[in-house]
């Protein structure tokens, strides 16, 4: 039964992808990309990857679409027809495709329990998480402790993207008057969306917090929570307009959130070093290594959540505030 479902979803994915590339209206493409992400997320869920599904839904279908749309508002919504470069593209793509298809035949079949990936490192995580961490979600355990260093790197990728967007769009980090919008007032004059939106915002934040702090026991954790909470604030700014949103969470606070999150993560690591362990070895923080790890993981997950939330908000506002601004430096 599941396999029928999976095949249906996968086929839908391909169809959506073709439609995305074919459509010459960029707006349509972006909306289809959102559908593509949702399908992908469902697919991940079917493949037993709940955490990834949640992330893909929150980040891929949610935040990415919003960022794309706010960028479209600043550029163009229609793609101009252009047929050059097709030949070379087809050749390169064909070569790569044949390479991959050549490789497929020796791969382990889907779901094969004897595949090498299920034999070597992963069983260690599955067998020891309960004992070493004291909570059941193995993905969170690997993410924040066994491979915590990767996650640190990832937080800094987000940080880099955040400062990059701010740098390139030249958005001031303070609240200069030039960068506050005047024209955009959101959906203030539309009663129904506003009322419904207002009701929803606190619940979305609540859900985000649940995902954040329930990450050790169920699917979830810092990334997903950060993205969900950012969505709530983005919804707020769509409802009330940029200005009100920036008054509620000013730019400096957004950037502060990113920096605090990143530093919090790093400082836990440094603290571990000072206490005599290796970098990010939480077990030295307290006498009981299991409790120590749990505390370390809660703190770094909070850091991750803050960093992701702040970064997504900064990026969104850097785009959104610009659409209302007079682009006087255009050459």
């Amino acid at each position: 039964m599941t396999i029928v479902f999976a095949i249906f979803l996968l086929t839908m994915l391909v169809i959506t992808a073709v439609a995305i590339v074919q459509s010459s209206n960029l707006f349509v493409s972006v909306m289809l990309t959102s559908i593509f992400s949702l399908l992908m997320s469902t697919n991940f869920f079917v493949l037993d990857a709940a955490d990834v599904a949640l992330t893909e839904a929150a980040v891929g279908a949610g935040i990415t679409t919003v960022i794309f749309l706010s960028a479209l508002a600043l550029t163009a919504t229609q793609e101009k027809p252009n047929r050059s470069g097709r030949g070379i593209a087809l050749i390169v793509v064909g070569l790569t495709a044949s390479l991959i298809i050549y490789a497929t035949f020796d791969k382990p079949r889907l779901g094969d329990p004897d595949a090498p990936v299920h034999q070597h490192v992963a069983p260690y995580y599955l067998d020891n998480t309960m004992e070493q961490m004291g909570f059941p979600n193995v993905v969170t355990a690997v993410l924040s402790s066994y491979r915590g260093y990767d996650t640190l790197g990832e937080v800094f990728v987000v940080f880099a993207a955040c400062i990059g967007v701010l740098f390139i769009l030249d958005a001031r980090t303070g609240t200069g008057p030039k960068y506050v919008t005047r024209k955009m007032t959101g959906l203030r004059h539309h009663l129904i969306p506003q009322v419904v939106g207002r009701i929803l915002v606190p619940f979305i934040v609540l859900f985000g917090l649940y995902v954040q702090f329930h990450g050790e026991y169920g699917p979830g954790g810092g990334f997903q929570a950060g993205a969900i909470i950012a969505t709530a604030f983005i919804l707020y700014s769509l409802l009330e307009g940029e200005q009100a949103a920036l008054r509620a969470v000013p730019r400096s606070a957004q950037l502060g959130l990113v920096i605090c999150g990143a530093l919090m993560f790093g400082m836990v690591g440094v603290l571990c070093m000072i206490m005599g362990g290796e970098f990010l070895d939480y077990s030295v923080l307290m006498e009981n290594p299991v409790t120590a790890r749990q505390i370390g993981i809660i703190v770094i997950e909070a850091g991750v959540g803050m960093a992701v939330c702040g970064a997504m908000l900064s990026i969104f506002h850097a785009f959104a505030a610009r659409s209302a601004e007079d682009t006087d430096e255009a050459v």
Binding site: G164, G266, M267
Partner: protein, 501 residues
């Protein structure tokens, strides 16, 4: 806390954590000073690591206290150490010289973000080198790439933007190809740790996913390293980047990708007897073509920065040609050339940055008789140019000599390659001579007087010039006393070829 024990971790996390701090504390001027201080600290750490390596150690560090295939391991050997020295040295020198040039090119309020990106770039590059985990390399590759895009996007010209965009697209494709390759290897071995991978790949090396993975990892990293036919992003990105960023990236940006490439080829895929041969047969023509074509393009290029950028593509060819010989001396030459080329190109681009303080237009023709107003810079350019050509007494000579010796070992076929090295060196003489001729040209009286007068200002002695002279001096020093890099390079080739541990 035992300081020495944490060296590999400190190498990465100090620049990494300094970046948000710089964005947090924003007063003017502080950003540059703090960044430079961090870079120097980082350089000191690399030197400390190199000292330990020369004493015969291999540094290992278990992140999070988890042992190797379970957690992420950092592992520093001689090959890593020499690349670490290149990165942190290039960062320190370019940053200390950067102040005026950056003030000129980046507005004040954007500087904290810019310098934070610079620190992230250092951390990302260094992180790729110290880690022994295939996926961790990807994460840090992305940090360094994103930071690199930001740095290049600081360029003042509008042509910077399409150049960065192209770099972003190609860089992401490269990283994703790498990710596909790593995924396929992981699928067949179940591990991400490089050493563990190398052991577990034995016995299944002829399975298709592994072969295809080798291809994907190779293409992905070749894109990042700007290997000859995949170099299209490099010239524009280097040309339009802020001058000091070009110094930094030209010295170490692509070398790190080469480093990862060689690591993969020699440690993971080494066990495939045939694979190595294929690798050599595939790589060598590309490297040779790259050397010739890129040198020729440089010969006819009118813009000084673009010319040097194309010369960089040719130098990547030299580095990979040495590696494709698959011999001890070949890899020694290749590693040594990484080091020496970083010194040489760094010096050349520092000179370019210095020229840029007085000449807005960096096309070669407009630098006419610049030696009159900037004698020291021009002289430094000449010396660095000689090193690029490979004149005896400079660092460039040592690595080219090593390369030629390594080629001679291979026998009959070697003469063609030696011929190519010699020819391309002659071409290098051509394009460097073109610049020198322009710099020292006697000003013609036909020029309108005002144009000549405006440009002739006395050469200001600032940090940039001092850094330039220092780097040129290093070029000569390592040309005469090549002990340190040579030892490290020899150790690296032993490690890569697993002669002894």
């Amino acid at each position: 806390m035992d300081f020495a024990q944490h060296l590999p971790a400190l190498q990465v996390i100090v620049p990494l954590l300094a970046a948000p701090l710089i964005v947090l504390l924003q007063p003017r001027g502080f950003a540059w000073a703090a960044t430079t201080a961090t870079a120097f600290f980082s350089f000191a750490v690399s030197i400390a690591i190199a000292v330990r390596i020369l004493a015969g150690d291999i540094l290992r560090y278990e992140m999070g206290g988890w042992f190797a295939p379970i957690g992420i391991e950092l592992r520093v050997d001689a090959f890593s150490a020499i690349v670490l020295l290149i990165i942190s040295g290039a960062a320190a020198i370019s940053l200390i010289a950067a102040r005026n040039s950056i003030n000129q090119q980046i507005e004040d309020h954007r500087q904290p973000l810019f310098f934070a990106a610079w620190l992230l770039a250092i951390a990302g590059l260094v992180g790729m080198v110290v880690t022994a985990d295939a996926f961790n390399i990807f994460v840090f590759m992305e940090i360094s790439s994103l930071a690199g895009y930001i740095l290049i996007a600081g360029g003042p010209d509008r042509r910077t933007l399409p150049a960065v965009f192209k770099y972003l697209i190609i860089g992401t494709i490269g990283a994703t190809f790498y990710l596909i390759g790593v995924g396929m290897i992981y699928m067949m071995t179940g591990t991400l740790n490089l050493e563990d991978m190398a052991q577990r790949v034995v016995g299944i090396e002829d399975q298709r996913p592994i072969l295809v993975a080798a291809a994907f990892v190779f293409i992905g990293l070749a894109l990042k390293a700007a290997l000859f036919p995949l170099h299209v992003w490099l010239p524009n990105a280097y040309t339009h980047a802020p001058h000091m960023v070009t110094v930094f990236l030209a010295a170490c940006g692509t070398k790190v990708a080469v480093y990862v490439l060689l690591r993969f080829q020699f440690s993971i895929f080494q066990s495939f007897g045939e694979h190595l041969l294929q690798f050599a047969l595939f790589l060598m023509p590309l490297a040779l073509l790259g050397i010739i074509v890129a040198s020729l393009v440089a010969m006819f290029e009118g813009h000084l920065k673009r010319m040097l950028a194309f010369s960089s593509v040719a130098q990547i060819g030299y580095i990979l040609m040495g590696a494709s010989l698959m011999s001890d001396s070949g890899i020694t030459a290749s590693t040594l050339h990484m080091f020496n080329h970083a010194l040489t190109k760094g010096a050349l681009f520092l000179a370019v940055a210095k020229f840029a303080t007085q000449y807005a237009d960096l096309r070669i023709d407009s630098l006419k008789s610049a030696a009159r107003s900037m004698p020291l810079t021009s002289f430094a350019f000449v010396i660095a140019g000689l090193s690029l050509i490979g004149v005896p007494g400079t660092a460039g000579f040592i690595s080219k000599w090593q390369l030629i010796m390594a080629i001679m070992e291979t026998g009959n076929m070697g003469f063609i390659m030696v011929a190519i090295v010699v020819i391309s060196s002659l071409i290098a003489v051509g394009y460097i001579w073109r610049v020198i001729e322009t710099l020292y040209a006697i000003p013609t009286d036909d020029l309108p007087d005002d144009a000549a007068d405006v440009s002739v200002k006395p050469e200001k002695i600032d940090m940039l010039l001092i850094a330039l002279i220092f780097t040129v001096a290093m070029n000569i020093y390592f040309g005469l006393v090549p002990g340190l890099p040579l030892t490290l390079a020899e150790l690296s080739s032993k490690i890569l070829l697993k002669v002894e541990f």
